[in-house]
Amino acid sequence: MKKKQFDVLNTRAPRVDAAIKATGKAQYADDLNRTGQLYGAILQSPLAHAKIISIDTAVASRLPGVKAIITAKDVGLTKYGVSPARYDETLFAHDKVRYVGDEIAAVAAIDLETAHAALELIKVEYEELPFVLTAEEALNDNAPQLHDDYPGNISAEVHQEFGDTAAAFKECDFIHTHKLVNKRQDGGFIEPHSCIAEYDHDGRLTLHTSTQVAHYVQRTVSMMTGIPIGRVRIVRPCVGGGFGPKCEATPLEMSACFLAIKTGCPVKITYSREQVFLHSRARHQFYHEMTTGFKKDGTIMALSHKCTLDGGAYCSFGIATVYYAGSLLGAPYRLPNMKYDGMRVYTNKPACGAQRGHGGVAARACFEQQLDIIAEELKIDPIELRQMNMMETGDTTCNALNMSSLGMKESLEAVQKGSNWKKKKGKLPAGKGIGAACGFFVSGAGYPIYRSDTFHSTAEIKVAEDGGTVILRSGIAEIGQGADTMVAMITAETLGIPLADVRVDSGDTDYSVDLGAYSSRQTLMSGHATKDAAENVKAQILAVVAEKLEVDVKNLDIKAGYIKIKGRKKADIKPFRDYYRKEHRGWSNLPDGDEMSFTEAARMAYLEKGTIVGTGKYKPPILGGKFKGAAVGTSPAYGGSAQVVEVTVDRDTGKITIDAMTDAHDCGLAINKTMVEGQMQGSLSMGLGEAMFEEVKFDEKGQLLTPSIGEYRIATALDMPNVDTIVIESNEPNGPYGAKEVGEGAIMPTIPAILNAVYDATGVRITELPLTPERVLLALKEAEAEKTA
């Protein structure tokens, strides 16, 4: 089928926000300042687990310049969190602290120096409690308990079985068990969280904040402060990256709000880099154990999967995480039988949450190694084995995920070719290796985080009264991924006007409902809502044009900024043109030619009907299975990706160099090819970082050992090879113009492809991340010793 031709979509249009970002004009939360603003600071626990005996703020509040101090006494004990079923946090700890960094109080003062000085004057008396720092310790019978409501330190538990794994294993010719443990991650965004809260004396609260989810922040702030939701406005300025950890309302935001309410002054708070690590809410540490059964011919029969997640002190996104860790293995291979036992455990460390590839990254890393192990055993090329078992468009997984479009075979073929796999696999010189892996991800969560029939996205498009510009107002979260550009392009395409004539105002809860930037949902869901709004506007304008020109509206269209009339050669637009010209006497750039411009038509519509505003909305249809937890993993569409990585292993130091990465991703229609590649390339570097360098570490008392981005180590430009990104475009029936996700799925294959390449280079399977030189060298030595023994 020939691809549809677009005027705006499927191009490499520069981002709509690129110029302000290139010139330093873009404003991020910490760049905002307000007259009379105060500076906030947060007191955090120095202990991993302790009873709070008393909190004394008297001395601190007498410090000149201190305007307010708040503790649990002032803000109450309303429980909040991500999933309403698992609200387990209060803004400030009152009875006990559960990790180093647990919030106890917040201060607003005339400057930051004073705010920090005040923190030091707050006296907190603690009684230390025994603590648990690993999932294993936390599950011991006599382990110290974090939450009364969650005995045994079990934050969430999942037991699922699809098909009959026991029976299936009996039919298998080959069964293999493999383990993998990753390390706790950090989002590693370069902009620390920051916000500024303002409260007016009419009882209205405005919060500018660096968030991915203004909508959820609005709800949480309203719930916590008791201010009616209509009076809480959340505005998202430019955001310097999120990747998951900015997906929930933070103590930073709520502290700023309470302090602003109490003082009547604007209050700004910004996390230090150390506080970013303490707030965390990034990727969990997962302990995976997978047993996979195969037939001789390479058919995958069954997977039995156990997983334990070290969750930290609170639930955050954890309940979704533990489900995703299982459900995302349902595809992209035909897997008829799957059993999953997952458990998320509380420990006395900062809470983990969602991060790019939510829940599925470590699981994928483990499973894709399994496939390679079995391919080797069966003497089948690992890419062939994958192709043999690959799902196709229209397939449904054993856990009821419907692959409404799936360009996985094409993706895998593309990387096989692009990397020159056949010439390299098995033929590289010593120390060099090549590995492949695949992955897939949801294109938007099928359900909102709270139980509701809410639309997942709404949008409002207003046509400027002068007709020249279209203004899209949307709650979407532009966090760097290009959401603003995506909706601008959809608006322009749908309306048939040039991209330059669309302006996007986004990220304000006053504009529309949008659940935000998570689960790779914006292109599909916000894209749909935008398209719907644009169609609405188009219909309104064309209705007026049809009436005025006395043409059947069915014969009207807009293209490249002009009204197109089917069937009749020419309409008499002269009277309207003359009128427009009269209205604009003395102006240059007046419409010309024998077609009516969009500007004239829009002006005409305004004169007839007043301001033209169109709204749009989207919510996914009822999807997926009926079993417990079916909501997690269910999505209107799925993106898929395949990757080949080449490495060099220095056998004397254990140091790995990533020489090449070839990645292909099926994103449906690529709304903007440059941006699609950008998402793929960013995913590769994050995956490479997790595989090779990144780890949040704690000492034996639960203190952060890696409180800086230098210690945490994200990849530098020198660590990244020149990568090849291949965009595969299937046609997604459930996506706007056939589009679906690319933001997260692209990270899935990176880690296992690296691990498989390292195995190819060394013959050694490494089952713990990251692949630091030390870990690799010691594994090589151990393998050598075993061989000689």
Binding site: R15, A18, I190, M686
Partner: protein
């Protein structure tokens, strides 16, 4: 704490400031002078988002006291465009898709500017080395490297993933 009286060139304009001795350069630029194009990502020299040019050379402005710039020239991202004309690196970053969240962008562009002044025809490795103190979490650096190489040789038409091939002939 006695304030320091300093005079320096800021984006080509003489600037006289009374500054606290314990004020870092990045905070003076952002908080006292309102030039928020210089970002603050870590405060420890780890991220490079605070990069400014000190007498033309890129440095971490979080690792300098404001008082140290007395008598020197500082260029920030705000000083790059010439009126309504963007610097070629800015144009290239925009066109090549080298910008996502944009938080690293000012620092990247300034590091790149210094590179191209000292080495007008850099290799890919030289580009990667020059920006190795500027972390970017969004782009994987690919399009940033391409944008810098494209500025150096504007005739080269690498759109994506081609930086290597394109520059191998050089």
């Amino acid at each position: 704490m006695k304030k320091c009286h300093i005079t320096f060139q800021l984006n080509g304009i003489t600037c006289e400031v009374l500054v606290n001795p314990n004020q870092t350069l990045v905070r003076m630029l952002r908080d006292d002078l309102g030039l928020t194009g210089t970002k603050y990502g870590c405060g420890e020299g780890d991220c490079g988002s605070c990069t400014v040019l000190l007498d033309g050379e890129p440095v971490n402005s979080c690792l300098m006291l404001a008082a140290q710039v007395d008598g020197h020239q500082i260029t920030t991202i705000e000083g790059l465009a010439d009126g309504d004309k963007l610097h070629p690196l800015q144009t290239s970053f925009i066109e090549k898709g080298a910008i996502q969240c944009g938080f690293c962008t000012p620092g990247m562009i300034l590091s790149a500017k210094n590179l191209l002044e000292t080495q007008p025809n850099p290799s890919e490795l030289e580009v990667r080395t020059a920006i190795s103190g500027n972390l970017c979490r969004c782009t994987g650096y690919q399009k940033i490297v391409e944008a810098i190489l494209a500025t150096a040789s504007p005739d080269c038409q690498c759109s994506s993933g081609d930086a290597k091939n394109c520059h191998e002939e050089d």
